[in-house]
Amino acid sequence: MDEGQAPWECHPHHLTDTGALHSCLSPGGRGVGGGGTAVRAGTSPGLTPCGGNKTRRALSVSKNGMASQPAYLVLAYLIYSSSVAAGAQSGIEECKHQFAWERWNCPERALQLSTHSGLRSANRETAFVHAISSAGVMYTLTRNCSLGDFDNCGCDDTRNGQLGGQGWLWGGCSDNVGFGEAISKQFVDALETGQDARAAMNLHNNEAGRKAVKGTMQRTCKCHGVSGSCTTQTCWLQLPEFREVGNYLKEKYERALQVDVLRGAGNSAASRGAIADTFSSISRKELVHLEDSPNYCLENKTLGLAGTEGRECVRRGKGLGRGERRSCRRLCGDCGLAVEERRADTLSSCNCKFHWCCAVKCEQCRKTVTKYYCVKRQGRGGRRRGLSLRRKH
């Protein structure tokens, strides 16, 4: 399989990076559940086109595209793939949370844009999706390491010789985060096959996502010297909750840098060099994008945008968060839509008694809830106004 052929060929219909990551690795499509079948599927890649192709891509980074992969690498891939899928999923969930009250609300469809190079978007939102997905993958891998899911977290067995051998005894293993980062790099970056500016942008944003996980980690120390004094203390880096990473990346999203790369310069070595230079001059913590975002107010079938019509927004409530405040204005008013109030009687649980897990004893209460939705304005004036609006950054 040559370099140009992407893993996309296995799923021609939904073809983005994260989309592909999903469809290839999501619980539906994976063959990882049972030990025996999984190994067999992996060692003969032809049987499962998705897994097989990707394995090769994922691993060819270190192996110079060798014709056949060593069995242990294929096995390694199968071990991590469910974590990778779960990680990508958690990244997308976080994206949905972060953008719940924005015009672009991280829709599933947007994640499955076409990858035919001309149509793939390279805007600010794509940048965020890439970053949060690779961050999610790294986060989940690191976390699952601590659960004992993998055999060689942090300890590179191949270098130390025997399993858990001299290196572990002598100086311990490196942090799980390093492991999560490396595997995330192998998996997520491998999805980017091109060598154009778009690919460079995606790789940059993937890296920014991983840097975000590292950047939000907290250093914690414990003193344990004589009589508990601080003559000896041990410090470690602790994973934050994933929301922290999401918040951090949202801030980066708001300050994302636009990169101007000459289009149509061809795929020559010189232009590739220029692209690499451009991207390497930008801090690896920053998100970058090439294009402006489209107007998310309007429905756009070619771009797969749903528009903000029919979206719910929040108004007049106690303790509104940063994102919720003025969401009706952002989603409806500024897009030339009116806000409609709908009241509904709902049954909800109240006066609950909680245990720390699982058991909740509640009563049922009837409550009237007011919700707000964006609807088309009556009359022409509003409609025209909506059209003339452009999204500003």
């Binding site: 976390r143 390491c145 601590s146 659960l147 004992g148 899911d149 993998f150 055999d151 060689n152 977290c153 300890c155 067995d157 399993l163 858990g164 572990w168 005894l169 002598w170 100086g171 311990g172 293993c173 799980n176 914690t220 414990k222 344990h224 004589v226 009589s227 508990g228 601080c230 003559t231 000896t232 203390q233 041990t234 410090c235 470690w236 602790q238 909750e241 929301r243 106690k318 303790g319 509104l320 968060g321 994102g323 919720e324 609950c352 008694k353 909680f354 245990h355 720390w356 897990c357 699982c358 058991a359 909740v360």
Partner: protein, 540 residues
């Protein structure tokens, strides 16, 4: 002539000795910085949530992974769906992670606990909430045999959590920031595999584990000493023990060869040597072969004895060079200054016994977990702190007095004969020099302590990685050893008086100048010339 070696040694030789000691000092830093790995390792564990499906599982221990792993759930939403109760959930942690094994070289293991508690507007953590943990620890030495119970206990820990963002519905699901909770401490790591099973039993009636919020995960951090550091440390101790022992024997022989009985300062120096040897003797080698859980406590005690001895030595050293009219040379004179040291050390000893002593029986015990315990511990530490302050006030005052008296002596120097004056000036210089060395050692300790606290742990230096924390430990340990070595060497009585019977000429004084100087001094029994000056003044 009963002067100490430091008086009779020429400046050139003193410099040579200084340079040699400095080389050893640099060497001890480099051993830690370049050979040893970082002193300790912290490993993250995330507890696996197992379901105690009664009667289904034969073993009473729940394994988080590997063969015979428990019936596990990924999160508590799953438990909600499957109608699993809180009392049926067991948090299982296997130490270490897969494919690793623990080793006696790790010396100790302490485990810290942290709860991930999600914020919910309707289910918040109550003020002063306390978690009750039912915890069991088991071990085994191969990966197939049954688990053997090591300890079981029901512990209480206070939750001190705060929610940094606003308590709104939007922030539901975010985690509280909770303080680290001490969880477990093992004084030896004799087994290969350990298994922790933690339950959080709920009882509405007894108000147990109620109002502790919505627990999402239990995270543990296991800290142990690195095997490599242990080996370097043991090697260092094994090397230092004979060197201090030899100089100690040589020193005592020097003293017994004298006609007079040893004075207080000499005895204190010898005691300092003994306490240094006591801390040096590498009894820890036994911990590799035997399961001696008290080794950690024993190490604390040994360190405590040495520190107490060192502090006492400084007081007595200053006191004995205080040129006033008081009759000294008796230990009883110093009770006022040494008292706080002994009392403070005793307080810390009691505190240590309360914490690490009890942990010998119950590794999950923590004095900080209960209110009474916390108050008691704080009381001990505060009293020890007051003692330390008192001690340093005394010490600073005495040092000030010594320097004042020396400068007072200086004014009377021009009246003396030339040779005598030169000699006194040299003496004063050398004593001040030693005082400075002590100060430098203390300052170095403090500085390196601060560096190791604020530093990330290692410095990259080209291709070399310098482990700052390890360098701190080996360097400071080596430094105090060299300090004790130097004191015993320089304060040993000069052998000059015994003429030809001594063979180690390199230590002695052979230059004509020295002979000329020393012979002019009137013979008075005492360890040093300053001592004689004191005596003289006392007579006047």
């Amino acid at each position: 002539m009963a002067g100490a070696i430091i008086e009779n040694m020429s400046t050139k030789k003193l410099v040579i000795v200084g340079v040699i000691l400095l080389l050893f000092q640099v060497f001890s830093f480099l051993v830690g910085g370049l050979i040893a790995p970082s002193p300790t390792t912290a490993i993250h564990y995330l507890a696996m949530k197992c379901v105690d499906a009664r009667k289904v599982q034969q073993s009473k221990w729940f394994m988080p992974w590997g063969p015979n792993q428990c019936n596990k759930i990924r999160d508590f939403d799953e438990a909600m769906v499957r109608m699993i109760e809180a009392n049926d959930i067991v948090f299982a942690v296997h130490i270490p992670l897969p494919n690793k094994e623990m080793s006696p070289w790790f010396q100790f293991m302490l485990v810290i606990m942290q709860f991930d508690i999600a914020f919910k507007v309707v289910n918040q953590i109550e003020d002063g909430a306390e978690v009750t943990i039912d915890v069991g620890l088991a071990y085994r030495d191969d990966s197939v045999s049954e688990w053997t119970e090591m300890a079981h206990s029901i512990e209480k820990r206070k939750l001190s959590c705060n929610f940094t963002t606003s308590k709104t519905y939007e922030n539901e699901g975010r985690y509280y920031e909770c303080d680290l909770l001490p969880f477990m401490e093992l004084g030896s790591v004799a087994h290969k595999y350990y298994l922790l099973n933690i339950r959080l039993p709920v009882s509405e009636r007894k108000r147990v584990n109620v109002g502790i919020g919505e627990i999402k995960d239990i995270r543990l951090v296991g800290i142990h000493q690195n095997g490599g550091f242990t080996k370097v440390w043991f090697a260092m101790k094994t090397f230092l023990t004979p060197s201090i022992l030899i100089i100690m024997v040589w020193y005592w022989r020097r003293i017994t060869l004298m006609t007079r009985p040893p004075v207080l300062l000499e005895k204190v120096i010898f005691a300092l040597g003994i306490s240094m040897t006591f801390i040096n003797i590498p009894v820890e080698w036994f911990s590799v072969g035997f399961n001696w859980t008290w080794m950690l406590l024993f190490g604390d005690i040994r360190q405590g004895i040495f520190y107490a001895m060192l502090l006492s030595f400084w007081i007595i050293f200053c006191g004995e060079h205080l040129m006033d009219q008081t009759e000294r040379n008796r230990f009883a004179v110093y009770w006022k200054q040494v008292g706080p040291i002994v009392f403070g050390s005793f307080c810390l000893f009691i505190f240590d016994m309360c914490e690490r002593g009890v942990q010998l029986k119950n590794p999950f015990y923590s004095i900080w977990a209960s209110d009474v315990g916390t108050e008691l511990a704080m009381a001990f530490i505060i009293v020890a702190g007051i003692c330390a302050c008192l001690y340093f006030l005394f010490l600073c005052f005495m040092v000030f007095q010594v320097f004042r008296n020396i400068s007072g002596k200086r004014t009377s120097l021009p009246a003396m004969s030339k040779a005598r004056r030169l000699h006194y000036e040299g003496l004063i210089f050398r004593f001040k020099f030693l005082m400075l060395v002590t100060l430098a050692c203390a300052a170095m300790t403090v500085i390196f302590f601060i560096i190791s606290q604020v530093n990330e742990g290692h410095w990259h230096w080209g291709d070399y990685t310098l482990q700052v924390n390890s360098a701190f430990f080996t360097g400071i340990y080596g430094m105090w050893n060299l300090y004790v070595f130097a004191i015993m060497f320089l304060y040993a009585p000069s052998h000059k008086r015994y003429g030809d019977e001594q063979s180690n000429g390199d230590l002695g004084v052979n230059s004509g100048e020295d002979i000329q100087l020393t012979t002019t001094i009137t013979h008075l029994d005492g360890p040093t010339e300053i001592y004689k000056m004191t005596g003289k003044e006392a007579q006047e």
